[in-house]
């Protein structure tokens, strides 16, 4: 029997870094900027069975809330391990509760929407899931190529992902199989996916994702002169104060 498909826009909130007000702000922006019908869900209850792996493998003393260089317990920020944002990966299993015909658009709470989100539901294909390709690093081999083996400059960015239910199940299953190895090795979901589900990955994991065209999603921390903000403009990497001043000013 044909089931009616839905456009689902989801975000995730845990801990104290973001407030319910941040969720409401994102919802307001979505409502204002999406010309097709949608259901909005903020996921705030997660499967936390990986939590112990996070703490067993996290090598720093404090969990930084934004991107800055620091050394703790002899380790650089990029080498802390523990994948602090692992709950986003659990969304790839959480989607079981959706209809297989649905389309999911995930947005980080610090994304800023300036264009019509209908693009993500009507202009893209379902062949593979989508995430953000960091074009701004790609142009700088001295950053991402030279540091490929580090967790520093992955070309993947999971702030905006679009997928069909079940399409990313194998990423969740991979972490479930190699849980300790994943949490030991990576402090970042983006590098984890770039190394293991990216263009240089092995076996059936290679090239798992496709990417939005350049300019559709932009980032505040790497804007070129005269470059326009994309449909979605990411504020990742900025401090809370910087994000607030951007969103509310």
């Amino acid at each position: 029997m044909f089931k009616r498909k839905k456009n689902r826009i989801i975000c995730a909130r845990w801990g104290d870094l973001y407030s319910k007000q941040d969720v409401n702000t994102l919802y307001d922006k979505v409502k204002k900027n999406c010309s097709v019908p949608f259901d909005f869900v903020c996921v705030d209850k997660f499967d936390e069975s990986w939590e112990e792996y996070k703490w067993t493998n996290y090598r720093a003393s404090l969990e930084p809330d934004y991107r800055f260089d620091t050394v703790q317990n002899g380790y650089h920020r990029d080498d802390f391990g523990g994948i602090p944002h692992y709950r986003k990966i659990t969304l790839f299993d959480y989607d079981k509760k959706f209809n297989e015909n649905d389309t999911i658009l995930y947005l980080d709470l610090d994304t800023y929407i300036t264009g019509d989100l209908a693009y993500f539901f009507e202009e893209l294909n379902d062949y593979k899931p989508y995430l953000v390709w960091n074009y701004w690093w790609e142009d700088k081999p001295e950053e991402w190529v030279r540091q490929y083996h580090l967790t520093r400059c992955p070309l993947f960015n999971s702030s905006v992902m679009r997928w069909k239910p079940g399409q990313n199940q194998k990423i969740y299953d991979f972490v479930n199989t190699y849980t300790n190895r994943c949490f030991f090795t990576y402090p970042s979901m983006d590098t984890f996916m770039f190394h293991n589900f990216g263009p240089y990955s092995n076996g059936g994991r290679k090239d798992h994702w496709q990417y939005y065209d350049r300019g559709i999603v932009t980032t505040e921390r790497a804007m070129e002169k005269d470059e326009k903000e994309g449909i979605i403009h990411m504020l990742e990497g900025l401090s809370t104060e910087e994000k607030n001043s951007y969103v509310y000013d």
């Binding site: 990029d78 030279r146 083996h149 580090l150 190699y178 030991f184």
Partner: protein
């Protein structure tokens, strides 16, 4: 490489050309892979091992500037290097192509794809344990009863996710069944954190 030969000069020239014309941004990485510390570490195990007619597997190999010729000159029948970095793969083949057909390089992330490691080597070497997940399970699966050289250090540096603080810690991670030799070397490193000394730990034994 023990006694500099024309082939060694040719490899060095190839590396220089790569840096000058194709990958000038890779200079810092290359410099670290050919510096005196790297030479000392690779020569240490090369001096200790009998490799005549033996197959050698080297993990986290980089492009094997020293390790590959050392193995060849000591009579290894086959040398296979493993590294997850695509640029390293390119350079490894460019530099070591002359050692074919007894040379192979595999682009492989040994932390997650350890089941794809070939189990046909006589000797398994990883002198960069500080870069990766503890080696115990990989060795258990692929190197049981084989000779292993494992080494790691306690240097705070980008990419070092597994600082090795002692011989005991290295052995705890690798779980060799018998250790024939162990050593500690002290080196110096200088970067934005300043000049500092660190220790490099070695164990040689059978898994």
């Amino acid at each position: 490489m023990y006694m500099i030969e024309p082939e060694d000069i040719q490899r060095f020239t190839r590396l220089s050309d790569t840096l000058e014309w194709h990958k000038p941004w890779l200079f810092a990485n290359v410099r670290e892979q050919i510096d005196k510390t790297e030479y000392t570490i690779q020569k240490y195990w090369a001096n200790k091992l009998d490799m005549i007619n033996k197959s050698v597997a080297i993990f986290n190999s980089g492009f094997g500037f020293y390790s590959v010729p050392f193995c060849s000159e000591k009579g290894a029948s086959y040398i296979r290097t493993y590294d997850m970095d695509p640029t390293t793969k390119e350079i490894a083949w460019y530099l070591n192509g002359e050692y074919k057909p007894k040379f192979d390089h595999q682009l492989l992330n040994i932390t997650f794809d350890y089941k794809e490691v070939f189990d046909d080597a006589h000797i398994y070497i990883n002198t960069s344990c500080e870069h990766s997940y503890p080696m115990g399970e990989l060795l258990e699966e692929k190197a049981k009863g084989k000779l292993c050289v494992m080494s790691g250090n306690n240097l705070t540096k980008r990419g070092h996710i597994n600082l090795i603080d002692s011989i005991d810690m290295l052995q705890e991670q690798c779980q060799l069944s018998e250790i024939y030799d162990e050593d500690v070397m002290e080196f110096e490193y200088d970067d934005e954190l300043g000049k500092r000394k660190y220790k490099q730990f070695f164990i040689i034994g059978v898994k």
